[in-house]
Symmetry: D2
Subunit: 346 residues, 4 copies
Amino acid sequence: MARTRVAIINVTGYVGVDLARILMRHPEVDIACVTGRSAVGQRLSEVFPHLFVSELVIQDGLDVPVDFVFSAMPHKASAEVCEPLVAQGLKVVDASADFRLKNPEEYKAWYQVVHPCPDLLSSAVYGLPELHRNEIGGAKLVANPGCYPTGALLALAPALRLGLVDGDIIIDSKSGVSGAGRSLTLTTHYAECNESVTAYAVTGHRHMPEIRQECRLLSDRVKDLLFLPHLIPMTRGILSACYMRVSDAALQSIGDPGKGIGDAYREFYRSSPFVKVMETPPATKHVWGSNYCHVFPQYDPRTGRLLVLSAIDNLVKGGAGEAVQNMNLMLGLEETCGLDALPVYP
Amino acid sequence: MARTRVAIINVTGYVGVDLARILMRHPEVDIACVTGRSAVGQRLSEVFPHLFVSELVIQDGLDVPVDFVFSAMPHKASAEVCEPLVAQGLKVVDASADFRLKNPEEYKAWYQVVHPCPDLLSSAVYGLPELHRNEIGGAKLVANPGCYPTGALLALAPALRLGLVDGDIIIDSKSGVSGAGRSLTLTTHYAECNESVTAYAVTGHRHMPEIRQECRLLSDRVKDLLFLPHLIPMTRGILSACYMRVSDAALQSIGDPGKGIGDAYREFYRSSPFVKVMETPPATKHVWGSNYCHVFPQYDPRTGRLLVLSAIDNLVKGGAGEAVQNMNLMLGLEETCGLDALPVYP
Amino acid sequence: MARTRVAIINVTGYVGVDLARILMRHPEVDIACVTGRSAVGQRLSEVFPHLFVSELVIQDGLDVPVDFVFSAMPHKASAEVCEPLVAQGLKVVDASADFRLKNPEEYKAWYQVVHPCPDLLSSAVYGLPELHRNEIGGAKLVANPGCYPTGALLALAPALRLGLVDGDIIIDSKSGVSGAGRSLTLTTHYAECNESVTAYAVTGHRHMPEIRQECRLLSDRVKDLLFLPHLIPMTRGILSACYMRVSDAALQSIGDPGKGIGDAYREFYRSSPFVKVMETPPATKHVWGSNYCHVFPQYDPRTGRLLVLSAIDNLVKGGAGEAVQNMNLMLGLEETCGLDALPVYP
Amino acid sequence: MARTRVAIINVTGYVGVDLARILMRHPEVDIACVTGRSAVGQRLSEVFPHLFVSELVIQDGLDVPVDFVFSAMPHKASAEVCEPLVAQGLKVVDASADFRLKNPEEYKAWYQVVHPCPDLLSSAVYGLPELHRNEIGGAKLVANPGCYPTGALLALAPALRLGLVDGDIIIDSKSGVSGAGRSLTLTTHYAECNESVTAYAVTGHRHMPEIRQECRLLSDRVKDLLFLPHLIPMTRGILSACYMRVSDAALQSIGDPGKGIGDAYREFYRSSPFVKVMETPPATKHVWGSNYCHVFPQYDPRTGRLLVLSAIDNLVKGGAGEAVQNMNLMLGLEETCGLDALPVYP
């Protein structure tokens, strides 16, 4: 059987180039084309010496027939690129924010642009496999989740679906600097962010509505949501601390919360090969470079709150790896195909 | 007038050695003696090459007459060292946890030891100058606050005293690794904690009761408190994100919360030379190496919560600098004396 | 055909645990046993959460039949462990220094111990596949090179074998902190080595005689060798700068040195799948987590010196990866088997 | 007596802003004016929150009378700014490269521009106080040395002046990223340079001719010079390893080289308050944030080479601190005035 031919649109950002890294070693697909907004005509291996084994040349557009497309374009531009591809019948994973929010008004409010193709929103599937595995399997267009939403939702989902959460949710996330992308900014200038930690987007981050949308699908008791991201002096990784108030009724139903909540989390992720419910607090280092997510729930009897921590690599499970996981499902491959690299520690 | 002669008990830890650094350039005092639990007989400059200008030799005990003592011993051992010094009439700042908690039962519960001298607890003053400036001025024994409590309380205090807070408080703190001390542990081994972020003490950190004690002095509406510390791959600095629910009544009384809360914070710290209420989110880098604290309050109308961020250098304002600030007050010197070094950026 | 059963002796150090990571995903072998000097009886996944998919339990000794053994014990202890295994006919890769130096007197001089089994030295093969591929293929006992020697020798070897080098060699190497191992020391305590660079072993490092021994096999004109290692605040990676004086005669024979030396290096490594001769200066980041080595020769006409830079991941090509590369050769597998993971960038 | 009024031209780069930090606490001068190429009209404290105590506003030009000027402009632009100021009789320290090289042809060759005012070159003094203290005292225009030359020359100077060096010199320097400035580049983008080490300027760095010029003033036996800079993932600091071949004749004259060379270095720096000859290898951390330089000479009997290591903070002793040290000398103040802050460790 012919191998699947895939393209990466905009390979020159961090998600794009990590897609290239993963797909170059994927046993079932071949990269047929990579495009860039910059560096067109250069070999991929010149721009990214770690991919020196590649012979690919960066193109200014899709110039060969392919079966599957990843778009790593920025929002709005990505929808514009994806729309005709979907119309041609190609399967597409879009790593931008364009097809994540179901409500085009909410999209406009948070991204300050009118959605280029709102008609596609209803058929696009939110690509968090642990929540939407079956729909992804049948989808033509998958919206790859944001990095923060991936970590936060994997921490929150079991508690929400089990009805444990009563009232508000606070999510305090700490991200490595690669999450801010490859474009140059003072914020990501080494001497500015090294040896420093800071919060940002204090009046509201674009990933909040995405987290809230999915939370409300999981539970109708989600009232408000405070999400605060922080920039941490490290390259990769997101650790999210999620604070929830637990419903008294739910609490009584699960017996010993110390054990019951962990068991419920393990049951929830029983068929999810990339999520591991841990018995000790996770460290981002323990998932570095991999598609795994470590989740750790802890009930605090003193305050009646449930704390859930999750750790991911923001560019793999929070980006390129999750996109390949979605591709695997869309192509009917093993979910873990090409994604079983273990975390690189220390 | 004779200059004040000071001693540093246990100079070989990070707070002790940073006391030496600051006091060596203090215009009004002389270091007469430094002691260590290790490295006795070695020159301070051998063990700590950055202090190469010093001629001091590390002693195994206080061997010369002094006027003022800093103890940087671990808890329990510190109280045992301080008790006779206080009895002799020496003024003492204790950097350990021994005289922070007023209730010896609480001390026992969190530190798993019986307090060696509970009789001193009532006269010891909690050394956060911004809250207890006057008492410190008249104190014989000052309990230097923990690093986390310093940052958290400076963020919380104005809101609590103004009655803004209704209900629970969540404090999510991010600390550089020097906060874990100079003793060797796997947790602070470079390859283990670099390029990683993790939460710890998830079932309760010893600094929680200290924060709670002071919060309750500020407001009788403080119910519960969830404090979660994180280890961040940087050497110095603590950023604390404090999440509080705001009382509706209080909110109405202050008019526009966006402006009113900031003004109230500025008024609260009007006479505090080391605390600056910022108009943009603080970064630990902007206080690095200094005794300053940057505080940033932000009301979130979406969730009705008040978010307050604070940034300190954990070894200066959260340790040695605050201890010297306390000494200045106890000796009737200018509060800023010897402490006006600006942060070293970048 | 039955899969090869391998053991890792002392899995709890950084080379040992990285062997486990690589071998767990190796397509042709199974890990049958892991032993430790600590953590015996614990599951590997408890001690190393990044290996959470493993079911292995750390043993105190080799307790099941195996076909192949990796020893990651410290020197001397490693030889003592390897000797009976070799006597039993097992193939062994020793990651310690014990079988690298051919001269037991030199071993004694640099390691301050008498070699436990000098009789094995003559049959042990120095496991740098790019220099000794064929001998390794037939070896029973392979001495895996030190991390510094791997990087330095891959930079030096072509120039030496081509007779380009006249006179002395200076090697200035910069290593990430994981090279110092997992044992706790003040040198590798985070707050001590972060944001700092320092040279060490200024009177002579144990890897010098190993580099010198191999250099002299490559060229009889190697006079002296100055090797200076530095500790760099990063987890993984070694960059070596090698400074050599070029023989005038040799220079004339190769025509344009700018082009000729690069071509000669490329020819030298034509059949070495893990070494890439670059056209721009290498960065350790571009080999991070992989078994690749980037080499960059540059002739400096101003001083008549040849500068060669090389970059490796000290734990992979400089440790566990190279050990697996040796195993592949010893077992008659493809040299790259299980080792084709691309570097993780950024 | 009226305090000296100083200006900082181009305060918005890292040397400019560190000048502001130091001068704001200098006991004998006042900052009367700061100018910028960007951020004009903004308060210094807005752009640089760590200087929140300042009331200065960034101007687009020198708008008030001053007595002394620091220029932190880029090369060429700096000479153009300095020339009229010097003509007006103002004393000037230029932190750019414009007045370092005495030969305008060499300047043109390395900086690819024609020198704007070559007539000033002969009267400008190279501002390394440890070599030119007296001339600086009488100078109107001082060329502040480059960061690398400061560290390298302090390591090399005693050996050169003593006639120890026979033949060539290799300088392998490791710099923190702040040395590359505050302008945005991919090289200094956090995710690109963190966890990586790389050499750059492999065909020749602009600081080489500056080092060579001063070396030749110290010894007529300096033949060639190979200088290779590296970028290290840390914010501040330069460690230089200087490798020199020692003259046999000189060696015999100094007796035991292990002791004699150290003594000679100590004697050379006897009157230099900021240079400390160490007995253990220096670490950049031990001079962090200070104007101190640690130098460590080590004779290697195996190769007959002298290795000298030096550590500085590239922005203080290698930039703003050295500029203030020069100002102190030019104004007849104590050389250490305003510069005695101890290094901030850890």
